[in-house]
């Protein structure tokens, strides 16, 4: 049985027990489950047993708490955004700055938790999939810190569009394996990681980065990410902030389920998930599983949920400017919360996300990751609907430094082109950066 109701912080409230806040034997209503070939069953069952043991082990929790405090940098601030509040003309805008966590995004919360668990299980090798690269980066860093070997599977398409993260993962000592099968994006990286795990599970743990996949992953990832929502709740209580709504972006859904979980039972708080609307509403133009018209119920990659699949059950191509939201499925718990009406979903277009990046950068000095900017954009739309004496909390799941290769060509195309050309020339000529600088000054 998977009843992971305790989040690993001493301050955290013990979670509620409804089938929508924690799974019933791996299921959240009709979604979830463990739809896997028997070759992968054993490692999942072993993991479930170990997780249920260590999540109640005070020593484990204390070790994790210290790492969260001293290495991740928790708690992350809940920032009041005065200019945004004024300009949007509705609820008070607060931003949970998960982007200030070490490695730049919320992904580290889960990566550290799972790597520490793996170490307790006696595993020496870690594998991970990654889309935007943030989960890969977090896992690579966690492995470097904890002395574990690390292999990251990443779709070839994502390797190209998130090159800065690839470079950083390699700096941490991880091996990044470009995945060339299928659509060469996140879902294919998941398939490849599953294959590796099936063969190597004796010494290897698979750190799945989102609150999806076969049980027990949705429960594990939610548990390690719930610290985001626990902190928001505590910070709000300490400062008498009356929260009317919480908004988060939803790819697989790890940051959103993390920030939503402590609020699920509190019906006064609206929970809003922002999906990738891509370039439009048609098939292949977005990654909208809850709001799109190409979405249906399915069983893929080990779990039952809502997916972008065709009438046969084949996965459809997805599209989003943000690699982290560009995925065909949604975590089973969020699918259940969406169908029950507890979580509202909205689709944000690529161009709206870019506008949000600009808006918060210029007005608040805060650079959202493209993924998180979907939440920012959703907040910009709904702030006015909410009363001025209430708070709207945006979970900024990550910061946008990694996106500079995507945002710069949009916001300052000529200067960026010039820079890239000059940099390439310098590298080809084997010039030292100082010499190149002197030459430019001349």
């Amino acid at each position: 049985m998977t009843h992971a109701t305790i989040t690993p912080t001493p301050q955290s409230a013990v979670g509620a027990t409804s089938h929508l806040t924690t799974s019933d034997n791996g299921f959240f209503d009709k979604f979830g489950g463990k739809y896997v070939a028997e070759i992968i069953r054993r490692p999942l069952d072993d993991l479930e047993a170990a997780f249920n043991k260590y999540i109640h082990d005070p020593e484990f929790l204390e070790e994790l708490r210290i790492i969260q405090r001293d290495y991740i940098g928790r708690e992350t601030p809940l920032y009041f955004a005065p200019t945004a509040t004024e300009l949007l003309g509705g609820a008070q805008i607060y931003i949970k700055l998960e982007g200030l966590a070490n490695t730049g995004a919320h992904k580290i919360n889960n990566a550290i938790g799972q790597c520490l668990l793996a170490k307790k299980m006696g595993k020496t090798r870690i594998i991970a999939e990654t889309g935007a690269g943030q989960h890969g980066l977090a896992t690579a860093a966690a492995c470097a810190k904890l002395g574990l070997e690390c292999v990251v599977y990443m779709g070839e398409v994502d390797v190209r569009r998130q090159q800065p993260n690839v470079a950083t993962m390699e700096m941490y000592g991880a091996k990044v394996v470009p995945v060339t099968s299928g659509a060469r994006t996140l879902k294919d990286a998941v398939n490849e990681a599953m294959r590796d795990w099936a063969t190597n599970f004796k010494n290897t743990h698979y750190v799945l980065g989102s609150a999806l996949g076969p049980a027990p992953f949705p429960d594990i990832v939610r548990t390690f990410q719930s610290i985001i929502g626990e902190e928001v709740k505590r910070q709000a209580a300490e400062r008498n902030i009356d929260i009317a709504a919480v908004v988060a972006c939803v790819g697989g859904g790890s940051n959103s389920i993390g920030v939503f979980t402590p609020f699920i039972e509190d019906k006064n708080v609206r929970l809003i998930g922002a999906e990738a609307g891509g370039i439009g509403p048609n098939k292949g133009e977005n990654a909208a599983r809850m709001t799109g018209n190409a979405s249906r119920e399915g069983i893929l990659q080990g779990y039952k949920s809502r997916f972008l699949i065709d009438e046969d059950g084949q996965s459809l191509p997805t599209r989003s400017i943000s690699a982290g939201l560009d995925y065909m499925g949604i975590g089973p718990q969020l699918a259940a919360l969406g169908e029950s009406g507890r979580v509202e979903f909205t689709a944000i277009l690529d161009k709206e996300a870019l506008e949000a990046v600009k808006f918060f950068a210029r007005n608040e000095g805060i650079l959202f990751a493209l993924e998180s900017a979907h939440a920012g954009a959703a907040a910009m739309k709904i702030a006015k609907e909410l009363p001025k004496d209430k708070a709207l909390v945006i979970n900024m799941s990550g910061r946008g430094d990694k996106d500079i290769f995507i945002t710069s060509p949009v916001f300052r195309p000529e200067k960026w082109k010039e820079f890239l050309k000059a940099e390439l020339k310098r590298l080809e000529n084997n010039e030292d950066i100082h010499d190149a600088e002197i030459m430019t000054r001349k």
Binding site: G33, V36, R41, D45, V190, I299, L300, K304, D312
Partner: protein, 250 residues
């Protein structure tokens, strides 16, 4: 020796996949495992994933895949056809509807590794209703308890995956493997044993312990290496027949 050999409907194209079935039967295969290509075949190795992608890129839907199966069944009515695919292709159209479509195409059994025997969305029941067998896939990494549970469920056949990983690598037949096969067959199920069979020597050893030897990616690899030209495909078909003969010990 019973030989269950494998092909992918629509790979490298409809016509060639039918010719491959002919060659396999001629070479001595007496069960055909026909895979319906899926976009995310995580229980398969790279050879079958690549082949599946080629079939899907050519637009083979479930309906067209089963049309190929129907044609193969008409040509070889005496050779049972087992469909292998993934849960998504069975669940999305509705499990019972999918089983019925298989039945209409002449299929005798379904192998769907990611619909576990103790949570199969009604697959076993639907198969029973339409006179098909559901064949679960056992793996050596299963706990003894779980394996015995599977073995005692009354399945007519159980597919035993003889390696800890996915399809496509070498198999060694050691004592642990033989013990595993014994446990799989404990409840009276006929054991289809495979994963990684490459040559006649391996199949000869294995055939003494199982109801049927399964060979899959060895044939897919032959096609993959030759799929680009008409001559290549003709060569592949001849090679497949020879390989099937070798593995079947003919």
């Amino acid at each position: 020796m019973n030989l269950m050999s494998h092909l992918i409907a629509g790979f490298p194209d409809a016509e060639t996949s039918i010719a491959i079935a002919d060659a396999l039967v001629k070479g001595g295969a007496n069960i055909l495992e026909i895979q319906l290509a899926f976009s995310d075949p995580s229980a398969d190795g790279p050879a079958i994933q690549t082949a599946s992608t080629i079939a899907l890129d050519k637009g083979y839907s479930t309906k067209q895949g089963l049309e190929i199966v129907r044609k193969i069944h008409e040509r070889h009515p005496e050779t049972p056809i087992y469909i292998m695919t993934y849960g998504s292709l069975a669940f999305t159209p509705g499990i019972e509807n999918f089983v019925k479509m298989c039945k209409d195409a002449g299929v005798s059994a379904c192998i769907i590794p990611d619909l576990p025997f103790d949570g199969d969305e009604g697959l076993t029941e639907a198969c029973k209703k339409h006179g098909l067998e559901n064949i679960p896939v056992a793996a050596p990494s299963m706990t003894k308890k779980r394996l015995e549970m599977m073995a005692s469920k009354g399945f007519k056949y159980i597919y035993a995956a003889l390696r800890a990983g996915t399809t496509g690598s070498e198999t060694t037949i050691d004592q642990a493997t033989l013990d595993f096969i014994d446990t799989v067959g404990k409840g009276g199920a006929k054991v289809l044993g495979g994963f990684g069979i490459r040559n006649g020597e391996q199949s000869k050893v294995l055939s003494k312990h199982v109801y049927a030897v399964v060979a899959g990616s060895v044939f897919v690899n032959i096609v993959l290496n030759n799929a680009d030209t008409a001559e290549g495909r003709a060569k592949a078909i001849a090679e497949i027949e020879a390989k099937a003969k070798e593995i079947a010990g003919k």
